[in-house]
């Protein structure tokens, strides 16, 4: 059993929901990302998504796009991210999922990507611009690596069945039509899709896009197996970036406190 499946099983036994924070690797530098990952784990993260920064992120709103720009400013690439994961793995067994755009992975080489993931201990990958129709090659190569696919509130039954059959680890359900970004009001329209997925197959479903507060976490936790929070966490980090030089611990504490507040309603 892989780390992802294992984690969801354990959470289910404890009647808990998964908190999956998203951090952009290298925002603002890779050393801090490592500290943030370890702090996130201590403060309730059950799995974690690490973003591969990309220059033209089609599914992301301004918050994550700017995080990518900060990371790219000092040349973060997949080679550096694999090294980061290798370092994290020396201290942690937290399930790690890479989230990035297909061109980064295609350019790196699919075989090499899958090989590196296995070597350093990446458990899954989310590629928002790689729908299953285009993902056959990667699917074939990824025997160990979970390929987590996305479904939305406007996916029809045929689509739900097709994607669910091909997804491994869990399903990423997109809360609202749009790009990533923290929202004030969150629609729970996605509940219907989650129900349909569950009726079709027993697979964990995590909801992401727009989740920005413990209240949202609670709302989504009512019906999903986990929540994914990206932009809201990055905003906390962004606001405290001036602490980077003088008081890194305080910066990390601000982000971890928020992560911890998101986990509470899920336990």
């Amino acid at each position: 059993m892989g780390r992802i499946e294992d984690t969801f099983t354990k959470l289910q036994q404890r009647n808990e929901k998964a908190l999956i924070p998203f951090l952009m690797a290298g925002d603002p530098n890779l050393e801090l990302t490592k500290e943030l990952v370890l702090a996130a784990e201590e403060n309730g993260a059950d799995l974690l998504e690490l973003g591969i920064p990309y220059s033209a992120p089609l599914a992301d709103g301004p918050t994550i796009q700017q995080a990518a720009q900060r990371s790219l400013a000092h040349g973060t690439n997949l080679t550096a991210i694999f090294k980061l994961v290798e370092e994290i793995r020396q201290e942690s067994e937290l399930p790690l999922i890479l989230m990035g755009y297909y061109n980064s992975i295609f350019n790196f080489g699919l075989e090499e990507f899958v090989k590196q993931c296995a070597e350093v201990g990446v458990d899954g990958v989310i590629i928002p611009d790689l729908p299953p129709e285009e993902g056959a090659e990667l699917q074939e190569l990824s025997t160990e690596l979970d390929i987590i696919l996305l479904l939305t509130s406007i996916s029809n039954q045929t689509r739900i069945e097709k994607v669910t059959n091909l997804s491994s680890g869990f399903i990423y359900a997109v809360s609202t039509p749009g790009v990533t970004g923290a929202k004030e009001e969150l629609s729970t329209e996605i509940e219907k899709t989650v129900t349909k997925i569950k009726q079709f197959k027993d697979i964990p479903v995590a909801v992401g896009f727009g989740i920005s507060s413990p209240t949202h976490a609670q709302q989504i936790g009512e019906f999903a197996d986990g929540i994914i929070v990206g932009s809201a966490i990055i905003k906390k980090l962004e606001k405290s970036l001036d602490l980077l030089e003088e008081d890194e611990e305080k910066l990390i504490a601000k982000v971890s406190d928020f992560i911890s507040s998101l986990k509470k309603p899920l336990t």
Binding site: Y54, S55, A56, L58, A59, G61, Q65, L72, G75, N77, L78, Y101, Y102, N103, S104, F106, N107, F108, P128, D129, L130, P131, E133, E134, A136, L149, L150, L151, T152, I154, S155, N156, R159, V163, V174, P177, G178, V179
Partner: protein, 392 residues
């Protein structure tokens, strides 16, 4: 393998949220492509509104001046609104109308596609919003004003290099959020399936007419077709109806900017590598990590880091060849055609003229070149004057 492939290129690399909209579009297009009434209406507006067929003009003075092959110009610049872009926007707006969409959005570089979209949106009474890079808004103020006159909203995009590629990103993101009531009227043979095929089909009227016209004028097929390539819609429109005519050589001309060995060019097929951009696989200008590179051209319409997937296929199969000419060469061709023929070409089209200028003298006098004069140059006179150091 997915639909919409040209060899290994093309496909639909898009967020899951766009899948229903693209499926709806592909289905509608498949249906109306075969629909006689739809095709008849398309032809009707091409004749009565766009003013087709436009001439295939024998450029006698230019031919004499260059002293080689006979040069014919396919006069897309004489279309309503002054460029080939309207062939495609007209086709797509008819489709949008049949699909019951009330809003159209589009990206634009030089502003030609924006104007062509605003034009047909006005004609069909649809809401229209145009996404345009802030730098292009600056460079193409005349077209911005034209779009506004036509009732469109122009959204200036400041992300990234604030040019066409960022405008495409922004338009796609807007579509992700609003796909249920909005039609994305993509302006070139790029993007996810079905766009590269659909836009090519709407633009193929260029090559279909040119093929008939040259047979009437010369009783034989041309030796060369030349067209500029940014995304590549005017080029594929000219090339496609000639693909089966093996002896006809095809040359796509990209923007070499300050030179293909500098970091300021937009010569995707000359210098790019295989990759994924804006939802399709093709050659892409990217760095070693697969990040999209900033591009440069004197012409806003060629300033694009990707290229239509069918062009990548034609390049790799050897059926078409791709060359690049610099800003300076395009500028000289702009002046050459203006003086020799009394035709002010768009800076985009000037790239094709510049290559014809190099090629024609090397050919025999009984050989024939067709150059696609994809747009007129009125929009460019301010920036050309600026480059020539003339104050208007």
């Amino acid at each position: 393998m997915s639909k919409g492939r040209f060899g290994e290129f093309g496909g639909a690399y898009v967020p899951e949220l766009l899948i229903p909209a693209l499926e709806e579009l592909a289905e509608a297009y498949d249906k109306y492509k075969e629909d006689e009434e739809f095709q008849e209406e398309f032809r009707y507006y091409l004749e009565e509104y766009v003013g087709r067929a436009n001439p295939l003009y024998y450029a006698e003075r230019l031919t004499e001046k260059l002293g080689g092959a006979k040069i014919y110009l396919k006069r897309e610049d004489l279309n309503h609104m002054g460029a080939h872009k309207i062939n495609n926007t007209l086709g797509q707006v008819l489709l949008a109308d049949r699909m019951g969409k009330k809003k159209v959005i589009a990206e634009t570089g030089a502003g030609q596609h924006g104007v062509a979209t605003a034009t047909v949106a006005a004609m069909f009474g649809m809401d229209c919003e145009i996404f345009m890079g802030a730098e292009d808004v600056e460079r193409q103020s005349l077209n911005v004003f034209r779009m506004k006159l036509l009732g469109a909203k122009v959204r200036s995009i400041t992300e990234g290099t604030a040019t066409l590629t960022d405008a495409v990103d922004a338009a796609i993101k807007h579509w992700v959020e609003n796909s249920e009531d909005t039609f994305y009227l993509l302006g070139s043979v790029v993007g996810p399936h079905p766009y590269p095929t659909m836009v090519r089909d709407f633009q193929s009227v260029i090559g279909e007419e040119a093929r008939e016209q040259i047979l009437v004028a010369e009783d034989k097929l041309p030796d060369y077709l030349i067209a500029c390539v940014g995304g590549g819609s005017n080029a594929i429109g000219l090339f496609h109806p000639f693909l089966a005519d093996e002896p006809v050589k095809m040359v796509g001309v990209e923007a070499a900017g300050l030179g293909v060995d500098t970091d300021k060019h937009a010569a995707t097929l000359t210098k790019g590598d295989k990759g994924i951009i804006h939802g399709y696989k093709s050659y892409v200008l990217q760095d070693d990590d697969g990040q999209i590179m900033p591009v440069h051209s004197i012409s806003a319409g060629l300033d694009y880091p990707g290229v239509g997937p069918e062009h990548s296929y034609l390049r790799d199969s050897g059926r078409a060849h791709y060359e690049a000419v610099t800003d300076q060469q395009a500028l000289e061709a702009f002046q050459l055609l203006s003086e020799a023929e009394g035709i002010i070409p768009a800076l985009e089209s000037s790239h094709a003229i510049a290559y014809a200028q190099q090629l024609a003298p090397k050919l025999e006098q009984d050989q024939i070149i067709i150059v696609n004069l994809s747009g007129r140059g009125d929009k460019d006179v301010y920036s050309v004057a600026d480059k020539l150091g003339v104050e208007i």
